[in-house]
Amino acid sequence: MIVATRPHTHETAQPEEHAHVALPQHRHHFETQEQQREAATFGMWLFLLTEIMFFGGLFFSYLLYRNWYYDAFVAASNQLSVPLGGTNTAVLITSGFCMAIAVWAAEVKKKGLLVVTLILTMLFGCIFIGIKYDEYHEKWEKHHIPGEHFDVAEFVNPHAYGLKEAPLAPDAAKKTQIFFSLYFAMTGLHALHMIIGLGILVWLTLRAHRGDFTAGYVAPIENFALYWHFVDIVWLFLFPLLYLINRHPV
């Protein structure tokens, strides 16, 4: 293959001397390392844009139904545990913080720190999933999983269950099922993203351990961090929307 004499894009300036030292990760069809890195980042941003649209359909549905079945949504959201959701928010922010340090560690080529922070990110991610599992389990026991066995008794007659909630007419109580459908769809999709992220983290940690990202090639770490922060941000919308707004307006 003949090496071109000009940089491939006119946006980037003439590459500096060290850019000519081809790293093993350099792909043949990019003219410079810089171009490869930019393309990867741009691709990641676009991918996150598709993710926004993906969640967007659900957010749209949620807001629509919330508007229609306001009382049912309020009653149903009171069933969610703010302490658990709040803890998870803190856990997730901490994990995002660890990931941010990981990016810095890769950039300044500190291999030990990189590996440690990746493992910490993973750990907090796992805690999040664990708490989420606990919340799901509680819904399961209360028959608040949408479908055949969904039970509205608690909403029709809250006082019998020791709740201070205003009772809903049986018809309105049925609409709480839509709340839980969307709750499971949205948090489930979010959790799925977390689990995929954890899988990628395992792989990144192994490669970091091998020293792949501390020799000047940090794009995978940076791009994964974008993904991980995106997942955090989605949660930062989900938490207030599902758990917090208009709690206990009775």
Partner: protein, 557 residues
């Protein structure tokens, strides 16, 4: 050099000409080198073969539908079988043919070359999207083999979630996966166009084919996820009954309509925009002029893409959207026609005073212009509220979207395949047979779908397998037309296959066209360019080209 008076074909001396010794086709051997390739050109060929395969399956179902409709009585198949026929026809044609057709084949092959890049930004993602296409395709075929789907391609709830006992979930999973294939193609294109243009290849020097694929990619990236989530909800509703679309649980089937059409209206532009790009290239080449109003044509693609997101509810006029929103959506719908019309007018101005020659790609392009215009104008009729209420769910709709998608997109696809065949294979297709095919297709098409406008106007509903006897004459005409059309599609399959071995050697630039793809050898090298080209002229600059050919082209391998 040999050129006849009515053509611009410029072939090398056939006695001495040979294909280049080294090219992307023979660079590596063996099936595995294809299945693991990262070369955008090889992936394009993989797509071309796959898409053709699905096209003929979808076509077989079309044949069965028309056969049933030959007589007013339901005598060929029972109604549920008939429903499965038109569902599979629609699903396969829309998701496995129309959406990926031009972008994944011609776009994949040409777009990087046209901007002077060695490959797409993410070759592995590109290959992955081909595999996803097949996984999704196999799911769809599995749904078919296991007993079929009878919701139509629109998966309308509550029909799809409550009343049918068929393989909706399997098909939905298939389409979900194909959706990712399409998202990845779009993403790859956008990054490549932004980041990998050769020096001097500014945005306003891009060929219009690149612009239109860019606009279509935006739609793929923004629209497809919404379809994906909608199908997930349908599948969840069917399997565990989450009730988001189920009125008995407080859900609303209309929500499905909103989400579905929010994707699927833009999706019709995913299907047509790349075709419009092909037409711009072909018309410019065979009238030897820069496309009139280049900037307007380029921007109109993006305008179509953006407006496309604001008109979805015109599919829902009779489904209970409020009068006010119906009015607004009606107006917005008319607005989308404007950028489409801009393109048609600019092509017409390009042709005017051009030195036009009638090569096969040009014949198909003329077919496109005529048929798309009819399709688009009937679309405006449908956008008008009152008309729509009379015509919706009749054969008028069927005729409208077939004029746009089959008359438009498929014509553009065939035009493009013929136009770039010499580049992709290094060989020419047989001249008179290909012209015969173009004419056959055009006649067959009109015979098939013109009667359907009348049928719809008279009130024949779509998706029924029996009809009152007074509609028979028009239906017989339509079925006859479909037969002619079928022949028109078989012909290219045969003679293009033949040309792979026996076609005349094409040389680098048989049409004397200006695009970068014509300045390199045919078939190209794996790495496209030996040296990164430096672009110093506008797209479609024929004077530059005349100058260039004298000096001998520098980028040939």
């Amino acid at each position: 050099m040999s050129a006849t008076s009515s053509t611009i074909v410029n072939l090398p001396d056939q006695k001495t000409a040979t294909l280049p010794k080294r090219n992307y086709l023979n660079n590596e051997d063996g099936l595995l080198s294809w299945l693991f390739t990262g070369d955008h050109k090889r992936i394009a060929i993989l797509y071309l073969i796959s898409i053709t395969f699905f096209f003929f399956i979808g076509g077989a179902f079309a044949g069965l539908i028309r056969l049933e409709l030959l007589t007013p009585q339901p005598d060929l198949v029972a109604s549920d079988t008939y429903n499965k026929f038109f569902s599979m026809h629609g699903i396969i044609m829309v998701f496995l043919f129309l959406v990926p057709s031009v972008p994944a084949t011609l776009g994949n092959f040409l777009m990087p070359i046209m901007i002077g890049a060695k490959d797409l930004a993410f070759p592995k993602v590109n290959l992955l999207s081909w595999y996803l296409y097949w996984v999704g395709g196999l799911f769809t075929l599995a749904a078919l083999v296991l007993g079929g789907v009878d919701t139509g391609w629109t998966f309308t709830t509550p029909l799809s979630t409550h009343y049918l006992n068929t393989h909706v979930v399997t098909a939905a999973v298939g389409i979900f996966i194909i959706g990712f294939s399409s998202i990845f193609t779009g993403l790859n294109f956008i990054v490549t166009i932004h980041r990998m243009r050769a020096p001097g290849m500014t945005w306003f020097r891009l060929p219009l084919f690149v612009w239109s694929n860019y606009a279509a990619s935006l739609l793929m990236v923004l629209g497809t996820p919404v379809l994906a989530i909608t199908l997930v909800l349908v599948a969840l509703e069917r399997t565990i009954g989450i009730g988001v679309f189920d009125p008995t649980k407080g859900g609303d089937p209309l929500l499905f309509q909103h989400l579905f059409w929010f994707y699927s209206h833009p999706a019709v532009y995913i299907m047509i925009l790349p075709g419009m790009g092909v037409i711009s290239e072909v018309i410019s080449t065979f009238s030897r002029k820069r496309v009139f109003g280049y900037t307007a044509v380029a921007f109109s693609s993006v305008a179509i893409a953006l407006f496309g997101f604001f008109v979805w509810a015109h599919h829902m006029f009779i489904m209970g959207v409020s009068n006010y929103s119906a009015l607004v959506f009606s107006l917005l719908t008319m607005l989308v026609a404007v950028p489409s019309a801009i393109k048609i007018f600019n092509w017409a101005f390009t042709l005017q005073k051009g030195s036009i020659t009638f090569e096969t790609p040009m014949l198909y392009a003329f077919g496109f212009m005529g048929l798309f215009t009819i399709g688009g104008m009937t679309g405006v009729f449908l956008g008008a509220l009152g008309m729509d209420i009379h015509l919706t769910e009749t054969y008028f709709i069927v005729a409208h979207f077939h004029f746009v998608m089959v008359g438009g997109m498929l014509m553009a696809f065939l035009s493009g395949i013929h136009f770039w065949w010499p580049k992709m294979t290094g060989r020419m297709y047989p001249e008179s047979l290909s012209k015969l095919a173009a004419v056959t297709t055009f006649i067959g098409f009109n015979l098939t779908f013109l009667p359907q406008f009348i049928l719809g106007y008279l009130g024949m509903p779509r998706r029924y397998h029996a009809y009152p006897p007074e509609f028979q004459v028009l239906n017989v005409l339509s079925t006859a037309g479909a037969t002619v059309l079928g022949v028109g599609y078989m012909l290219p399959l045969l003679y293009l296959g033949w040309s792979l071995k026996y076609g005349a050697i094409a040389g680098n630039n048989p049409w004397q066209a200006t695009g970068l793809e014509w300045q390199i050898q045919s078939p190209p090298l794996t790495e496209n360019f030996i040296e990164v080209p430096v672009v110093d002229h506008e797209a479609y600059d024929y004077e530059w080209l005349a100058h260039k050919t004298e000096q001998e082209v520098t980028t040939v391998g």
